[in-house]
Symmetry: C2
Subunit: 210 residues, 2 copies
DNA sequence: AGGCTAAGGACAGCCACTGACAATTGACAA
DNA sequence: TTGTCAATTGTCAGTGGCTGTCCTTAGCCT
């Protein structure tokens, strides 16, 4: 077991993250001041900034949890799987196990609602997309290693990951735009599979005969 | 000919954009205050914000010029070209004709340097990526219309554009990372073609026999 | 128990951005 | 030409995100 100090720090951070997510999802991101978040946890504004580099980081904190998990899942995929297959399975598994990752901080429902806040808040969406490109870079390295290639010599790892990520973006975008019914974990998994299956057809020359 | 007022406005905007780009590329984005830009043009800070929604918008002003041109180029591609071919040609043509679009505001050299500033400044990169997704949405609509499809019924237009954009991102990223020699208009055109040609191979299952 | 160090609070200040109001200046008709 | 109207700009005050500094508090460890 950790020391008291460490436990306290973890609790403060979780409390800040939870308060931030609750305020963002209820009042909106822009309408929530950092002061309000700090006040909700009863710490000074300065303390908030000691735990999060900025308001954005608190808003993307939940996503970050799942991102790390996803990258790890890709690493652990069986070596015989082709790159795109490994990515596909890792994503699908990731969506299935979100519960375990997120639940300790906030209920999954809030996680989903936070996704919509991100997508509908320009500055958050921007930050999210930038973070995604960082993840792409990491994934490209992982894929390259799996295939025994040099990322900087062979463009295929980066290209494959970029294509995959592009499809994931389209998927998420369509997902959050859906009605309450389809906006669920089952919904995103179904969409993911459907869209990945459509990549091949989408790249063929003539769409009219597909 | 336009009225004196309109000409004055245009001149003020161009001057602000020019001053912004010059300061961003020489001192860096974060190190440049809006006050400094306004002062360089001898207008009040308030006036700057009347022309640009924020510092970001001024930084992306040059890119915006070329984006509009690119979308237009896609629209004007011959109808018989398959989607990806139309996009490819439009991009390549776009890089060729940048001179004409940009030169009226700043020398092309500054345009290229600004690209590097964007790529190396987190908040700018984020804003750029978000803008790119907006462009993707527009392109998807254009492509869908070319093919006589409904964007919301058929996922292929969005997927094709997303894949294409993903490849463009990787291309740009590699491009700005290059040495001064390859960091040129000829360089980006060559990279673009090369990477687009590698998409097919990158999506195949087994890379070892390609 | 007491010294050491990590964590938090208080305070001051910078900068991006906005609303409101007043002053200026071009447009346009009498 | 001149007077009126409207668009453009400047000034000022204020908000909110974020940072540096300094001091206090509180867990840690001998």
């Amino acid at each position: 077991m950790q020391t008291l100090r460490e436990r306290k720090k973890r609790r403060t951070r979780d409390a800040l993250l939870r308060a931030a997510v609750e305020l963002f999802t209820s009042r909106g991101y822009e309408a929530t001041t950092v002061d309000a978040i700090a006040e909700a946890v009863d710490v000074s504004q300065r303390t908030f900034f000691r735990y999060f580099a900025g308001k954005e980081e608190a808003a993307l904190g939940l996503v970050e949890l799942t991102v790390e998990r996803f990258v790890q899942a890709v690493r652990e995929r069986p070596a015989h799987e082709p790159p795109l297959e490994a990515l596909r399975q890792a994503v699908l598994d990731g969506w299935s196990s979100i519960n375990e990752v997120v639940e300790s901080v906030v209920p999954v429902e809030l996680y989903l609602r936070m996704y919509r806040v991100i997508e509908s808040t320009p500055v958050l969406l921007a930050a999210y997309l930038r973070r995604s490109t960082e993840v792409e870079e990491t994934l490209a390295a992982v894929i390259a290693e799996r295939e025994g290639l040099d990322v900087d010599a062979d463009p295929r790892p980066r290209l494959a990951v970029a294509v995959f990520s592009g499809v994931m973006r389209v998927t998420e975008r369509q997902w959050v735009a859906q009605e309450e019914g389809e906006f669920s974990l089952a919904g995103i998994r179904a969409l993911t599979s459907r869209y990945l299956d459509q990549v091949g057809p989408a790249l063929l020359g003539d769409w009219r005969e597909a």
